[in-house]
């Protein structure tokens, strides 16, 4: 389980978990879970297109993720972009279906982009992942205060000169970036669950944003570690473990959160 071949897997999955935990915190805070669903899944079509043209699938993934993020941002109004997100998703998935139908042969490479091929990460693949992760985390650190402020109420940011439009677009680009780096490793499905479940559970665990982000990272790490170990041992798909573990953590987090609230206000 810890052979040199597997070491790359552990490292890559850990990097992905940290990014998923951090970016996910803001996805959940801003109520953008649907966007976090649409961008990775839509980007998958870009990979299909790239495979068709004989290009690097990660390149196609990145282009579609960015285009999707910018499209959603341009079509959405005042931070509400559920309809724009849905449209972006169906357009991208439809295009993906077309690309796949044109591909003469069945492409396991593209299939892996949906469900991940975490058990086969090469050393050469690690560097771009690490590089994109650093860019992603730096972007979040840079935007941290305006992002939180505009999540409380966009007007509070606007009166301080924080343009909601700019912040929202920047945030969607961060999600796109996280998608481009993580989807080749864990797949679109797992990236979605890593961005939602740990962060959703973490916000119930602490009232302090910094601590909640740390909890989110920790839960995401535990999820992928346990997932990989179980997947290696039992040989069931990793997606099953990450999905169910994430949901279990989320349920547990809600329970603990409800308990904390009762203790905090015994009268109520």
């Amino acid at each position: 389980m810890f052979s040199s071949f597997m070491v790359n897997t552990w490292v890559a999955a850990s990097i992905v978990a940290v990014v998923g935990g951090v970016v996910g915190f803001f996805v959940v805070l801003r109520g953008s879970a649907f966007v976090a669903h649409a961008i990775p899944h839509g980007a998958f079509s870009g990979a299909a297109g790239a495979a068709l043209l004989g290009l690097n699938t990660v390149f196609g993934l990145g282009v579609f993720a960015l285009a999707g993020a910018l499209g959603i941002s341009a079509l959405g109004r005042k931070g509400r972009h559920d309809v724009a997100t849905a449209l972006g998703l169906v357009v991208m998935l439809g295009t993906g279906a077309l690309f796949l139908s044109w591909s003469a042969e069945y492409a396991p490479q593209i299939y892996a982009l949906l469900f991940g091929e975490v058990l086969g990460v090469s050393r050469a693949e690690l560097w771009p992942i690490a590089g994109l992760a650093i860019v992603c985390l730096a972007a979040v650190a840079l935007l941290y205060r305006p992002l939180v402020l505009s999540s409380i109420a966009p007007e509070l940011g606007e009166v301080r000169g924080v343009s909601e439009r700019v912040i929202d677009t920047a945030f969607l680009l961060v999600v796109a970036l996280a998608t481009a780096m993580t989807v080749p490793v864990v797949g679109a499905l797992l990236m979605f669950s890593l961005m939602i479940a740990p962060a959703g559970a973490a916000r119930a665990l602490s009232d302090r944003p910094g601590v909640a982000i740390a909890c989110s990272i920790a839960l995401a790490l535990v999820t992928v570690w346990v997932g990989i170990a179980l997947s290696y041992a039992i040989n069931w798909p990793l997606g099953f473990f990450v999905g169910t573990l994430g949901a279990a953590f989320y349920g547990l987090g809600r329970l603990i959160g409800a308990r904390r609230r009762r203790i905090a206000s015994p009268v109520a």
Binding site: L156, E158, D207, P209, A212, S265
Partner: protein, 286 residues
């Protein structure tokens, strides 16, 4: 400060001259003129749709004007000096933020990066503490902000707006959705803040009565037009009739002011009344 005192009369913190604004082709503000002096408590009174929120957004620079000028004292000195508490902000109880985090963002929420300097951190904490103390919010400073009551959240948002030490504090319907006791608490708090911090308060409301004891100026908005002055100057039958465009009576009952539409005229909807409560052509402000 001393320079301004030497001039005899202090320059207004806010002055609007003949301001008009349009929303989607409709004139929402029509020739609004008034000025607010430093530390003054101003009530912006009008019905839903009278243009209160648009007027506040114009002052904040979030809504462009079609004509007229808006002058802010702070803006002239190149410093943003307006605190703002928006309407009906209901904070999400799932949001992992304490009251003190929300207040701290009032100071530096627009800045990029994460603050790391321990010395700056201490200064920051002290300022947050002081802002929380000035709105009596120290008791729930560490509580999750979304789980606080409406009145408590309002106080946190006021501290958020005050921590930047503005010369002008704008509040959009801060009494909406509050019970009577919380309304009185918030009004008393705002009056105290205006005096202690020497910040001019401009708050909108659809009912002037809770504000009567503290307000020094009223800006009465109807149909996008405004009259401004002391309560005695503005809340009079002739003045309001001219503003509404038909006869309105002003009654003073048990220290409360009722604005009543005249008999035979088309029913007016003075502030505080929904269309459903119009009875026999007479409408009143509760």
């Amino acid at each position: 400060m001393s320079a301004r005192v030497l001039e005899g009369r202090e320059a207004p913190v806010l002055s609007l001259r003949d301001v008009s604004a349009d929303l989607a082709g409709r004139r929402v503000l029509d020739g609004v003129t008034f000025a607010v002096q430093p530390g003054e408590f101003t009530a912006l009174i009008g019905t839903n749709g009278a243009g209160k929120t648009t007027l506040l957004r114009v002052i904040l620079g979030l809504q462009p004007t079609s004509s007229g000028t808006v002058e802010l004292a702070g803006a002239r000195r190149g410093r943003r000096s307006v605190g703002y508490v928006p309407q009906k902000v209901l904070l999400d109880p799932d949001m992992p933020l304490r009251a003190r985090d929300v207040v701290a963002l009032g100071m530096d929420g627009h800045r990029l990066g994460i603050p790391v300097s321990p010395r700056a951190g201490r200064v920051r904490r002290a300022r947050v503490e002081a802002a929380l103390a000035s709105v009596d919010a120290l008791d729930f400073a560490d509580a999750r902000v979304g789980t606080l009551s409406g009145g408590e959240q309002q106080r946190v948002l006021i501290a958020h707006a005050l921590i930047g030490e503005p010369e002008l504090l704008l509040l959009d319907e801060p009494l909406a959705n509050l019970d009577l006791r919380s309304q009185h608490e918030v009004v008393a708090l705002l009056a105290r803040v205006a005096e202690q911090h020497r910040v001019a308060v401009v708050m909108s409301a659809h009912d002037m009565n809770p504000l009567l004891p503290v307000m020094q100026r009223i800006v009465y908005l109807a149909g996008g037009r405004a009259v401004s002055g002391s309560t005695e100057e503005v809340v009079r039958s002739e003045v309001l009739s001219a503003l509404y465009g038909h006869h309105v009576d002003v009654l003073r009952v048990h220290g409360r002011i009722l604005v009543v539409a005249g008999e035979g005229d088309e029913p007016v909807r003075p502030p505080g009344e929904e269309p459903g409560s119009v009875e026999s052509g007479i409408v009143s402000v509760p």
